[in-house]
C-alpha cells in the first residue's frame, strides 16, 4: 500500500463518489487516470484491505431495532454458544472479550420484541441464561473510517 493507495482509501472510506463515473471523479481528485483509480481499488479489494464497497445504513430509520448483547458463557460451552448465536442473520459482529461477560455480539432485527424473542430462544437452546441486552440510549458518534 503506497501513498496514492492511502489517499484513495482516505477518500472512499468516507465517501465513495455517487457519480456516473466515480473512478474518473476519484482519479481527478488525486491526479491519476480513471483506469489507474479503478485498478488500484480493485487491487486493494483483492488484497483484502477493502472488505466491501457499498452502503452503510441507519438501522433505526429503516424501522429496525439494534442492540449490543453480552453473555457469560463457561469455557466448555463457548463453541456451541457461538455457533448457535452466529446462525442468526441479525448477528453481524461477535467477539470474545476480556470481561466476566466474555461473548459480545450485535443483533439487528425488525423489532425489539423479535430481538427479545431470539435471545430467549438462544437461552433455551444453549442453557446460557445470563445474556445482557444493552440497546443504545444516546448516540454521540458512528464513524467507522480511519486516518491512514
Amino acid at each position: 500500500m503506497d501513498k496514492t493507495d492511502r489517499k484513495i482509501l482516505n477518500i472512499i472510506q468516507t465517501e465513495f463518489p455517487v457519480e456516473e463515473e466515480p473512478f474518473k471523479f476519484l482519479g481527478e481528485a488525486i491526479g491519476i487516470s480513471e483506469d489507474e483509480a479503478l485498478d488500484r481499488v480493485k487491487k486493494l479489494k483483492e488484497e483484502g484491505i477493502i472488505r466491501r464497497i457499498g452502503a452503510v445504513f441507519d438501522t433505526g430509520k429503516m424501522g429496525f431495532a439494534s442492540t449490543l448483547c453480552a453473555a457469560r458463557v463457561s469455557e466448555e460451552k463457548v463453541e456451541e454458544f457461538v455457533g448457535i448465536v452466529n446462525s442468526y442473520s441479525g448477528v453481524t459482529h461477535n467477539y470474545r472479550r476480556s470481561h466476566e461477560y466474555n461473548i459480545w455480539f450485535t443483533f439487528i432485527a425488525p423489532s425489539e420484541e423479535e430481538i427479545e424473542r431470539s435471545l430467549d430462544e438462544i437461552r433455551e437452546k444453549t442453557g446460557v441464561d445470563d445474556i445482557l441486552n444493552m440497546p443504545v440510549r444516546r448516540k454521540f458518534k458512528i464513524d467507522a473510517s480511519f486516518d491512514l
Partner: protein
C-alpha cells in the same frame, strides 16, 4: 460526523417508509458493488431502473439519513490499524452529553454510544478505539484525564467469531 438524538424519540417520528424499488436498491447496496467504470449503471440495470434514477434514489436516501454513507468498508487490521479496543466508562447522567461530545471529537474513537442498562451497574458510555500502533492504555489514560472520568474498563477483543454486513431485505 456528530449524530445526536434520543433513539426513543427517533423511533416514533423518523422511520422512513421505503418502496419496493428502494428496498431493491438497499438489497444491492448492502452487499458489495461491482467494480466497473459505471458501477451505478450496473446497479440500475440489476434493479430494473436507469442510471440517473438510481443515482437520484441513492442521493435521496442519503439526504433522508437512511444511507449513512456510500463508501469502502475496510478490514482495519489489514489497513494497518492493528490495535483496537472497546472501552466502557462510568459517566454520571448529567455528564454524559459533555463527555460523549468530547470523546466524539477524537479521530481514533470511531464509535461512541450511551447504552442502557449500564454494564456492571455503572458503565454506560461505550467507545470503540482504533489505533495504528500500540498504546491503547496510554490513549485511554489521556482521554480519561481530559474527560475527568476515572472509572473505566478496557475490553479487548480476544477472538473474532463473526463480522458481517446486515442483510435487511
Amino acid at each position: 460526523m456528530l449524530i445526536h438524538y434520543d433513539q426513543n424519540v427517533q423511533k416514533k417520528r423518523d422511520i422512513v417508509m421505503l418502496n419496493d424499488r428502494e428496498k431493491a436498491l438497499i438489497k444491492y447496496m448492502q452487499g458489495d458493488m461491482v467494480l466497473t467504470k459505471r458501477p451505478f449503471a450496473y446497479l440500475a440495470n440489476h434493479i430494473g431502473t436507469d442510471e440517473g434514477e438510481a443515482l437520484n434514489a441513492i442521493k435521496r436516501l442519503k439526504k433522508q439519513g437512511v444511507i449513512r454513507k456510500v463508501g469502502a468498508i475496510l478490514r482495519h487490521q489489514k489497513a494497518g490499524l492493528t490495535e483496537n479496543a472497546m472501552v466502557v466508562w462510568a459517566v454520571p447522567d448529567e455528564e454524559c452529553e459533555r463527555v460523549g461530545a468530547l470523546f466524539a471529537s477524537y479521530r481514533d474513537i470511531t464509535h461512541c454510544y450511551e447504552r442502557m442498562p449500564p454494564l456492571d451497574g455503572k458503565y454506560n458510555l461505550y467507545t470503540m478505539i482504533h489505533l495504528s500502533e500500540k498504546g491503547v492504555e496510554k490513549f485511554v489514560g489521556k482521554i480519561s484525564l481530559a474527560a475527568g472520568i476515572a472509572d473505566f474498563k478496557i475490553l479487548k477483543s480476544k477472538e473474532e467469531f463473526k463480522k458481517s454486513s446486515m442483510e435487511y431485505y
